[in-house]
């Protein structure tokens, strides 16, 4: 956490009206993070608003055990999970408009990632697509290091199997 961020957090803690600069700093990242999971820009707006609203109410409890961005993303992922439960996410057919997919193979791969169990999917997405460090992911998902690697290896194994099945069926 840099000095600038620390000062912004301290100011927000002392007076919630000073939360604006923190919002400006992280709104885009949080919105994109949520959009890549909901695939729905309007819902992503609402859930981003919910995330910042919760963060603003709980900023006093932030103890600095991770970066403020990770703190926001932890709130965001839980907000998205709640939304999944309410909206029966499995029934939605996403168009992945928020992704740059250069070929059909990448689209198929993304579809396979989306089919993974929730936490395996998040580990793969955060680590390889969003480029987050394992420690950050462990904090956001509230999991241990060993659990992180177990989920990662499990997800890769599943993806490899699915991809091989697809290759055999001549899907590529």
């Amino acid at each position: 956490m840099d000095e600038d961020e620390r000062l912004l957090i301290e100011r927000a803690k002392s007076n919630p009206q000073n939360f604006g600069p923190l919002y400006d700093r992280y709104a885009e990242d949080v919105y994109r993070f949520i959009l890549s999971r909901t695939h729905n820009p309007d819902e992503a707006e609402n859930l981003t608003a919910d995330t910042f609203y919760k963060a603003l109410k709980s900023v006093k409890n932030f103890r600095g055990e991770a970066s403020f961005e990770s703190y926001l993303l932890r709130i965001a992922i839980n907000t998205v999970y709640d939304w999944f439960k309410r909206k029966k996410y499995a029934n939605l057919v996403p168009d992945y408009g928020e992704y740059e997919l250069k070929n059909e193979e990448l689209r198929k791969l993304l579809e396979e990632i989306e089919k993974l169990p929730l936490r395996e999917r998040e580990v793969i997405r955060m680590h390889y697509i969003e480029g987050k460090e394992p420690s950050e992911i462990e904090f956001i998902l509230n999991i241990s290091k060993s659990n992180f690697y177990r989920l990662l290896n499990g997800a890769l194994y599943r993806l490899r199997n699915e991809m091989e099945k697809n290759e055999q069926q001549g899907n590529y």
């Binding site: 994109r32 609402n46 910042f52 408009g97 740059e100 791969l109």
Partner: protein, 391 residues
Amino acid sequence: MNNKEIIEEIKKIKTKEGDIGPRKEKIRRKIILRFEKEKRHRQILRRFVFACLIPIVLILAFIPLTTSRSNFINLKEGKIVIPKIEAFAPEIEHINTSIKGPYVYDGENKLVWFIKKDNNLYSVALYDILNNKKIETLSPSVDNMSNINGGIALSQEKVIAGVGDHLYVIDRRTKEVLIIELPEESLPREKKELYPIKAIVSLNEDFALISRADSKGITEFNATSLRAREIELPSNIDSPAAFVKGGNLIYFLAKDIRSGKQLVGSLDIKSETVKILKDFSPVSISANKSLFALSKDGFYKIDTENNQINKINADIPENAKLVSYGKFIYAVNLEESKDHAPERVNKISVAKYDPDKNILYEGKIITGDNTPFLLIDGGEPIMLFNLSTEN
């Protein structure tokens, strides 16, 4: 495909980096809206809680008033009872002792258990009328820290006496004394250092009712388990100054805090129901099946079940002391001679009322002795009286 190849493929998936400026402002407004919505909800909730609290507070404020009011019973005036008057010849036996303060008489063994006062120190003492005619002090002497004389009552096996906040449970046979320091009053009228015992009445072999000064209640005390509980009185009634037993009820005399008038009340121990008789201010009470009371206006029989008051047409002085013995109610009055002649002449008038036959027996005794006396009727000692104003 191996893991490395899959990872390389996954890394090729990128999210678009378009400008989200307008959305950012929309989200900001949504956050502000959420705050305003929550603020409105909080205000509505606060108003709702406030609106709910007002009637609750009002109800709670009125509960003591309504309950205390509901404790007050209006008496229906009944007929004037004209008893048949007959003469009788009571006897007295003077006891040459200086028994002062609260006492209780054990007629069977001719013993007087009393609270002895000696230089502002109080103790429980016993006077044996039959044998040595001496006063035996049973408990340590204590300063009761007030001018309240305490109380004493007799149960089947025990004597329960109280001075200050000390309670003495004495075995009538072995005279073994158990001293109990009563806990601080749990229903105090105001915060005080001490809540001295004012009156005691025994209920059965284990239980006694204790009245303590500056209390809003009566303490029910178990002399075996040594446990106590409080029975609350109406808020504007002072703790009782005297108790009498009558059937299943305990009657008491207590002052109305606001008017200072002495009132009479009844307590049903089982249901803990307290009733105060409205607009009736007696000086002395006694009870057997009914309640009998003596006020400035005369002698009354009160049917507390039907709340009916019947005046008994009897010429009984207002300062007389009422005592119940068997089926009779005795009214004993001492008229001391006012002259300072060396040979004083005191008149003791005794009236005995038989409620079943409606007969009032009247008798008079002239005596020069001023010491406490035993009233004897038909050879049977009824009660010890200490009516002298000099005590």
